[in-house]
Symmetry: D2
Subunit: 158 residues, 4 copies
């Protein structure tokens, strides 16, 4: 995709800090592998605690990785004062999440002042083979301080 | 919605057994609250371990609850020999997942021999108030034994 | 759903005017049947010109009706100076679009200053029977004058 | 993406014939520009008859092009006796559909015996510039003769 120019020169530190402040990422064992303006790659080791009835990783957990990859990718292009919110996403499950390690790659398709559109892919690494197991398209929203100072304690796409 | 006639007279025990075989549900603390043909209600207590940077439950975890609610609802209408697979879903995040308890209600919109379509809603209970925080529409697929005996170790929408 | 309070006392005339300014609605023969704050019902007679290879109405045309129903429903709750834009939608096709007449019912699930979330259903009337044939969930965006005065000739979720 | 091996040696003629049997494509002026196994490119000239209130092509019409591109791409990989059905799609609208000509490019992400997953992009050509205006992810279903001989006059994902 296109190369993007970050609004925030400190985008890398800001994105890492935002990611690290998410307890869910620690609990799921998801880490940042690669980070560039508008692009991110996360990885997660298999954990039996997050599987479904056939021993594959649960679709919701794969979605957590995909959504977070989209969020971090979008966040790298937002101004330094923005917080970020996921508006919606669609996950398509192409193959069972069977593997020892999972990789989530997201990229910004179109950034915007308010809304940013991302795409992400999840891959399973199993016995030396990498398989595309899921895709996501998602819409992310920048929350700027003006909005957070409004009458609502926490704005919800307001 | 319409009342559905289950194909499997033992649908209740089968759905509970399928749900209980999912380690991810135990880990997330999600339980079945109500079960009827084509309808299910799950619930989950807040856990700090699954929150994002603002202290709200992560969208992927909310999606895990919604997806599982859809899966169980669809499964109640499938024949006894079927296994179930999620094909795709879209999650719309209407409000932050802030609360002490979360409820996931799903219902079948249209059952089918191969594909079943479901809708689900997630609610947050916070300080005595219940808020609709997310919706899902999803497609589920019945995997019948014939298919699982095919050349693939695990069929993926084959 | 909830009863909504329109921001624009002239919401009815504004929504009808917006709808009438769409040549696509005239060409497809789609008309407004019912209008209330946050709710709308459109209808379309079958036209062979818009069918696919099996004689059913094309999914894109059904989507045009569903999307417009969502747009009008969302628009009824927007301030008088707003223009409206569709951000994204998902259409699920439950049954073939076979019938003499089609009805598109949309309602706002959650209105917001910037984003409004809607759901819609398409029904086919065929030989005296009404069938749910498709559902949509969509995100709509209010474009306020401030934005339209920006550097872009036409803002795109900017 | 990967190169696909068609099941049907006459895939090209079959796909063109299926496309040509759709009156909606004629009415909208959509034509096939390029066709390969698992890939297709369609094009449509601007028509004022299909615009919305700002003079841009209606999102439902753009969706018709995207959906049909996905359908033809999926169909090229299906066996000769299969008919095809769209199960669901999500359209994301990145920019207004302003232009003299529109191009719809689809490719199969994962083919399957029953379900095929596709992605598509819509581009607007305006004053010599090409802009990505929309994306789609969709699920298509092969309908094999066995199914069409079932008790239902027309199977709907049965």
């Amino acid at each position: 995709m296109a190369a993007f120019e970050p609004n925030n020169p400190g985008y890398r530190a800001a994105a890492i800090a935002m990611f690290e402040r998410q307890p869910a990422m620690h609990t799921l064992g998801i880490v940042i592998v690669r980070l560039a303006p508008g692009e991110v790659e996360l990885a997660m080791l298999h954990s039996a605690a997050f599987t479904q009835q056939n021993g594959f990783v649960h679709a919701g957990i794969i979605t957590a990785g995909l959504d977070n990859a989209c969020g971090v990718a979008a966040f790298t292009l937002m101004p330094s004062e923005a917080d970020i919110l996921t508006v919606e996403f669609k996950t398509t499950l192409l193959a069972p999440a069977r593997g020892e390690r999972f990789v989530f790659k997201a990229e910004v398709v179109k950034p915007g002042r308010t809304l940013t559109f991302c795409e992400a892919k999840a891959f399973a690494e199993h016995e030396g083979k990498t398989t595309l197991i899921a895709t996501m398209t998602g819409t992310l929203m920048a929350m700027l301080p003006r909005a957070t100072a409004s009458h609502e304690p926490r704005p919800s796409h307001a």
